[in-house]
């Protein structure tokens, strides 16, 4: 049994409060499914900063202020009730645990009267000024997130850093969208959220019917790890819904490199692509997608796919660093079968895990950033035909984490 695992996932979902999975003194039993009345009968102090309850006085981690049971129970009652108006003002700006503490502090002072500092060794401020490592996570239960950036063409912020790679660009979107989500969520409810879903609706730009014919929409799906082929229709449908259209012109598939038997670790394997390709062909049959494309294939892989496919790839999108030194066999083959060789500027691993986690961490807490793994990313772009003007560009990102939440 892990000493530090005071919060056990399995209990958390049962309780309206932060859970109490404790150990009895003999270290052999755990409480199970503790309910509120059982909670009240226990003499458990509560940290005024992060609101965790601990078996008193054993194993009290550093920097946690201690309050009496009466005050602890008073806090519980307060937290059960909806907060009075006005107590949440001013809590939205910062993203570390001090926000939470500040919110609760004002609630407490409004309800209870005396502050924790009378009884505790450490003040609330001390706790909230501690390092981010100790900040309590904002969305500890969240296992899945979907973030829609909306149309980023007019995001001033992104234009200020145009030297950034597309990886930086998408992470910027993740950070912004997630921050915007966290701003608007109820802090308490956030603790129980299992799936974060945020569409930057104010940025979402639907295409109306009169415009549709003028615009060419291309969607690139980055499949970050082996996923069921339903990811294809799922991602395309999300884009269709967001843009308010019934079809897109081109769907490009990018699979993560190095899976399968390829010698060249940066080139994707055709055997990995084929199942997704079949799903893509279904979309062509349904006329939701008009043409298909693939990314970063060598001549042999492209030929393999081309010969096998029912709907032939019309695009092989390659990294632009090779645009002046394209392999002859690839250019000759592409010309022979009329496959367009277009360029992209994306890394083979579009969003590395650490980068994603760092991004999430930067707008929340250390704990919140842990274990997230990108599942898929979709980039859509709409170009006005014949005029070369970008009308819209956006990202939809899906990430998951399946591990137990580990708290400091």
């Amino acid at each position: 049994m892990e000493d530090e695992d005071l919060f056990d996932d399995t209990f958390a979902s049962e309780l309206p409060l932060s859970s109490v999975g404790g150990k009895s003194q003999d270290n052999t039993t755990k409480f199970s499914k503790v309910n509120l009345s059982a909670l009240e009968s226990l003499t458990l102090p509560r940290c005024t900063g992060c609101q965790r309850q601990f078996p008193f006085p054993v194993n009290l981690p550093e920097n946690h202020a201690v309050i009496s049971l009466e005050e602890s129970q008073a806090v519980d009652r307060t937290r059960m009730a909806p907060p009075p108006q006005g107590t949440r003002s001013g809590t939205v700006k910062s993203w570390n645990g001090s926000v939470f503490a500040a919110g609760v502090k004002s609630t407490r002072s409004g309800q209870v009267g005396s502050t924790a500092s009378n009884k505790s060794n450490l003040s609330v401020n001390n706790h909230s000024s501690s390092t981010m490592t100790d900040d309590i996570p904002m969305f500890p239960k969240a296992k899945s997130m979907f973030l829609h950036s909306g149309n980023i063409i007019n995001w001033n912020r992104l234009k200020r850093k145009p030297n950034q790679t597309s990886t930086e660009e998408v992470c910027d979107c993740i950070g912004n969208t997630l921050a915007s989500y966290l701003e608007t969520q109820d802090k308490t409810e956030l603790q129980y959220v299992t799936e974060i879903y945020k569409v930057n609706s104010e940025n979402v730009q639907k295409i109306d019917d009169t415009e549709r014919e003028e615009v060419k929409i291309t969607v690139k799906v980055f499949v970050c790890l082996p996923l069921p082929t339903s990811v294809i229709s799922e991602t395309v449908n999300k884009v269709l819904n967001e843009l308010g259209t019934s079809y897109i012109e081109t769907l490009l598939l990018a699979v993560s490199p190095g899976e399968g038997e390829e010698d060249d670790s940066s080139a994707p394997s055709v055997s990995v692509i084929k199942p997704y390709w079949e799903a893509m062909e279904e979309l062509v049959a349904a006329e939701t997608v008009l043409s298909l494309g693939v990314c970063d294939l060598t001549k042999d892989s492209l030929e393999d796919l081309y010969n096998w496919a029912k709907v032939k790839p019309s695009v092989d999108q390659v990294n632009l660093e090779s645009c002046c030194v394209m392999p002859q066999d690839l250019t000759a083959y592409a010309k022979a079968v009329n496959v367009q060789l277009l360029t992209h500027n994306d890394r083979p691993v579009f969003i590395p895990e650490e980068t994603l986690q760092e991004t999430i961490r930067s707008v929340s807490t250390e704990a919140d950033g842990r274990n997230w793994v990108p599942q898929w990313v979709v980039r859509y772009s709409g170009i006005v035909k014949c005029r070369g003007i970008i009308k819209m560009k956006g990202y939809i990102i899906h990430a998951r984490r399946d591990h137990k939440i580990i708290l400091p």
């Binding site: 030297n163 079809y247 032939k312 002046c324 079968v337 170009i383």
Partner: protein, 554 residues
């Protein structure tokens, strides 16, 4: 280039040169002709009438009319480059050229004196015209590119030599500006107004004087000389104020070339010749071009300041750069507008020697607008007053403008961002990358401007006597070198131009063409059938052009 060369003799070559270095020096034409200062059309001491383009009567007419309207020969005075052996003061003796004294009086000391339209209009430059999708986009492009005019002029500088002398300027602009200056003494402010209507600040060839899009309204800080009656007529006719003022300003000029036949017979409902007459004899940095009658060519905007480079690659690079810049401006809704008086100051900076590396230009600090131009326009239009614009711009070097400074990403970064979002085939990307590399290296100073290269060629030539004189042997060697570089038989100097291997061809790749046609056909079909339920989920062979090569149902 190949087509022209095919028509020429072995010892002849077409050059894309901005200024012929020994224009007006002795017998500079073939066959040789003598200037006729007494009876000729231009009365130039240096430029024979036969050198005026004989292909159309317009050029002789313009030459003659400009001179006669002005009341005297045009007087072009360009500061000479003072080298150690250059006479100081530099004053030429024109008496042996049959000068009646007027040229000696008009020529300034320490200046290279030129005296007819041919010295300006005999130069050449790079002009790029864009089609806009509607009048608002045309106005937007006109205003947004206006600020880029001095900057692109400085970057593309390629004409430091005039009438056989090294000058202290690098671009043709002041030369042409003075060469067609038909303003009378009264209009130039040398005498009080009596016969003429207006005091006019600039020659008919010069930078623009006003912005015409709503976003530019608050930045028109030059007093605009205009024909009030015409302006009122336009406004009463439904033209918006800014555009009406722009046109009324163009129309303060007299026509300098007219066809007698057109005077009476023209029907203004179907023919726009009279408008084009004045429009095309206002030679400005930008030109706003309404569609002519009975044409669907649409609203166009012409970007006119750039100098011609010696190779096709360079000219293509500059052209493609400015085209991409327009796409970037329209995609990201950028705003480059600064007070128009500052743009004029930039113009005066731009033609100085080595301006691209030594000088600073006023440039907008924050080109990324928060709101769309339409929203800004509504804000600007609704309130009567304009907010303080002084803090919006600052002095930047060419390098900073292209490569970035602080928060400003730089034009090249913005273009790269745009290109990453477009679907560009590998060959085009390769070519464009090289074009942008040229622009990047010229703007950072890694490569010399063409003007600097030519200047250095002269300065380092064995026959050069450090007296600013570009003699025939020096000029010949320079031109020979340019011929060989431009036809590929010699490599350019690496400080001026790198070795390029572009993939330009006459047409886009076949695959792109077919894909485009296929998508067009499919999207039209899909859009009209969007409401019909899809029964058949099997892919049809005919839906896929790539399996059987059919396109468009052919």
């Amino acid at each position: 280039r190949q087509e022209i060369q095919a028509e020429l003799k072995e010892d002849e070559a077409p050059l894309s040169l901005t200024a012929f270095p020994r224009l007006g020096c002795g017998f500079f034409t073939h066959p040789p002709f003598q200037p006729d200062p007494i009876n000729g059309i231009s009365k130039s001491l240096f430029f024979p009438d036969e050198a005026i383009n004989q292909g159309h009567i317009r050029f002789k007419t313009l030459t003659r009319n400009i001179r006669s309207r002005r009341g005297e020969k045009v007087a072009i005075n360009i500061p000479i480059f003072k080298d150690v052996n250059t006479p100081s003061p530099f004053i030429e003796d024109f008496s042996h050229l049959k000068d009646d004294g007027s040229s000696a009086a008009a020529a300034k000391p320490d200046h290279i004196y030129m005296d007819c339209m041919g010295f300006g209009m005999g130069n050449c430059c790079l002009q790029v015209t864009f089609q806009a999708c509607n009048i608002d986009e045309a106005k937007t492009l006109y205003d947004q590119l206006a600020g880029m005019c001095p900057i692109m002029l400085a970057l593309s500088a390629s004409s430091p030599i005039y009438r056989g002398y090294l000058s202290d300027i690098d671009t043709r602009w002041p030369v042409i500006s003075a060469s067609v200056d038909d303003r009378t003494e009264e209009e130039r402010g040398l005498k009080p107004l009596k016969n003429d209507r207006f005091r006019i600040q600039k020659s008919r060839y010069d930078s623009i004087d006003s912005y015409i899009s709503p976003l530019g309204r608050c930045y028109n800080d030059i007093e605009l000389t205009l024909d009030d009656d015409l302006c009122k007529e336009l406004i009463d006719g439904g033209v918006d104020e800014l555009l009406a003022r722009h046109i009324a300003h163009l129309f303060i000029r007299d026509p300098v070339s007219l066809f007698k036949e057109k005077l009476e017979s023209q029907d203004d409902e179907t023919d726009t010749d009279h408008f084009e007459n004045i429009q095309s004899t206002n030679w400005q940095t930008m030109r706003f071009k309404p569609p002519p009658a009975n044409s669907n060519i649409g609203w166009r905007v012409e970007f006119r300041p750039m100098e011609a480079q010696i190779t096709d690659f360079e000219n293509a690079a500059f052209t493609v750069f400015i085209v991409l810049l327009t796409r970037v401006i329209l995609s990201y809704k950028l705003n480059f507008i600064i007070p128009i008086s500052k743009v004029d100051e930039n113009m005066r900076t731009a033609f100085k020697r080595d301006a691209a590396i030594n000088e600073k230009f006023y440039f907008r600090k924050d080109v990324l607008t928060e709101s769309t131009p339409l929203e800004c326009a509504q804000q600007c239009g609704s309130s009567g007053g304009c907010s303080d614009v002084q803090g919006e711009y600052e002095l930047m070097t060419i390098k900073e403008i292209f490569h970035g400074k602080g928060d400003f990403p730089g034009l090249l970064a913005l273009i790269n961002l745009y290109m990453d979002s477009m679907e560009i085939d590998v060959d085009s990307r390769c070519t464009i990358t090289q074009y942008l590399m040229l622009i990047g290296q010229r703007s950072s100073g890694t490569l010399q401007t063409s003007a600097k290269w030519m200047r250095n060629f002269v300065l380092n030539h064995k026959d050069y006597k450090q007296d600013s004189v570009v003699s025939e042997p020096i000029a010949y060697d320079l031109l020979k070198r340019i011929v060989n570089i431009s036809n590929g038989s010699e490599n350019a100097d690496p400080q001026h131009l790198f070795h390029h291997t572009t993939k330009s061809s006459d047409s886009i790749p076949e695959a792109l063409y077919q894909a485009e046609a296929f998508l067009d056909q499919k999207s039209r079909k899909t859009a009209t059938e969007a409401d019909k339920p899809h029964q058949d989920f099997q892919p049809h062979p005919s839906d896929n052009p790539l399996s059987n090569g059919l396109v468009n149902g052919d």
